[in-house]
Symmetry: C2
Subunit: 377 residues, 2 copies
Amino acid sequence: MATQRILDFLATRRPEGPCLVVDLDIVENNFHAFRKALPDSAIFYAVKANPAPEVLRLLASLGSNFDCASVAEIEMALEAGATARRISYGNTIKKERDIERAAALGVSLFAVDCVEEVEKVARAAPGARVFCRVLTNGEGAEWPLSRKFGCVPAMAIDVLVEAARLGLVATGISFHVGSQQTDTNAWDAAIGDAKFVFEALAEKGIVLTLVNMGGGFPTRYLKDVPAAEAYGRAIFESLRRHFGNRLPETIIEPGRGMVGDAGVIKAEVVLVSRKSATDENRWVYLDIGKFGGLAETMDEAIRYPIVTARDGDLMEPCVLAGPTCDSADVLYEKKPYPLPITLTIGDEVLIEGTGAYTTTYASVAFNGFEPLRAYVI
Amino acid sequence: MATQRILDFLATRRPEGPCLVVDLDIVENNFHAFRKALPDSAIFYAVKANPAPEVLRLLASLGSNFDCASVAEIEMALEAGATARRISYGNTIKKERDIERAAALGVSLFAVDCVEEVEKVARAAPGARVFCRVLTNGEGAEWPLSRKFGCVPAMAIDVLVEAARLGLVATGISFHVGSQQTDTNAWDAAIGDAKFVFEALAEKGIVLTLVNMGGGFPTRYLKDVPAAEAYGRAIFESLRRHFGNRLPETIIEPGRGMVGDAGVIKAEVVLVSRKSATDENRWVYLDIGKFGGLAETMDEAIRYPIVTARDGDLMEPCVLAGPTCDSADVLYEKKPYPLPITLTIGDEVLIEGTGAYTTTYASVAFNGFEPLRAYVI
């Protein structure tokens, strides 16, 4: 929801063009909610969700750790005040020279999901700690989870054995249950897989200590989602069930769940029209679309709440589209979006829950439109 | 195909990281081919395909006109040496204040597809020329064409009548047969629709003069495509058939067809791995993906030719993915891509036919990766 601070900012500053406004108070609340929900887990904020310096500085000051996808993100986290010990290079796809750069910056925790990546880390960051990502099925997640990251648990055993053999510290297992995961039990099967790998390695004399439980914590879009406490409870119970009294260290990597509901995009209605006299749906065109920051509407995956000043009026399903000359730049068409029948050209709309995966997804200059501006307040 | 000039540039300069190299000689050849194929049509280059200043300057010097999607693109075309008379504001979705800005820059030709847009143009650019876009079905096009732009021909009549009533010059009809259109006859039905609207308006005393036949001209990816001459012949015959001896002025708006085959992306293999010991396909990860400039691999729509130094070796279908921590950043998976079985980490690959719709589609900084760099030679 748009907070009063965001509404006041927009009313006072009246920025021209589409923009994102992020309320740091919400980010801080979310951080505390995660800490309370999973008090024994270290929080590694997924920088890719929103790398605004103000967000990173706030989280660094609150004691957050950082999950980074690239050397540039590592540098941003350091710049924001994190120490290298608080940074994980969580991308399983790294150039060897980037591993070397990260190691030179002091980073010593790396994600891997195959022997080939282990070999790179062993050469470029000798003695570093590595965790191996295992595949999960992503059921219950709204953003599609592919098989891109991770290997099957049986292969994770070989990967970590090889890591140990090459002088790395085989630290543990990671997984990701899929972004915008609304099933609090989604973590359970993967925690079971982690335990399986822990036992298999223990038999080989390698003691794992870490379970990186990834992200996936949802933000509220149109439907209610379980609160952080519900996830905390389900995850803790699952850890207890699988690991008994010998609980491993754990990490969580919230991104969307940390910043999603802290941001609101202000946009403008550029055109409202029909394609024929008998057209069933009106077309509503905004000054932001798939290439301007709303990439997560791809396949209509994420459905953002949209607020207008006319929401008391009669609603009618509309096709919603962006402003570029690209026919793929349509946000919601298969499932049209209900908007007030009185909505008109020039109206302002607020697109809520847009604090994550918007600014950096925006294209450089597609159709000459500048990237999404952001104000962090 | 990578030209010798591009290969020499890469061999000499050895740029670090993924980059696009565009050979201006090819752009010039393409311009001449279009001019020869459709000698009576004015060429309006679709700036959005690749707005590199060098490309725009070359085309301006060759006498090209420019189809612009935004005020920023209009400014780029002017900067490159085009006069305002040679610019069309071809986006049917415009803010009124942007129409005003364009008019202030001297632009006097605007696209519309509804009465609402006509009203904006009448207020913000009194007396301007407008053409109305009509819907086509996009059959035969490889990049999805939605119903986003245009109205049915019957509605186009009302739109242009209203334009005339509001003091605008109702100039003609435009349409787009869909990007990467491989059927040379795809223009025919739309030219017939244009003729229908011409006649209907003539009965009302409004004489249309222009048919804007849009873009859609393909570039060669993996499959051969008809040459510009074949399109020229089919289009000219269709114009003759529908308009007889009273041929209208015509415009074409090539974008992909002008620059697509002039560009090659140099990328690097970051990782080659399998997900399990029995995995059927290897996964090949590049340092460029869907968010770094290859957005047109969305739904595996555009299938680029990929060249490696090992192409003589045995080939095997691979899943091809990008370098970001986003599970949606997979290029080809439903239909795996054949690559040499010897392809290995650190190898360079050339992704051909990438001169259009790559650089400006690239995200600002997703996962901390910088946008695609481009060299125009």
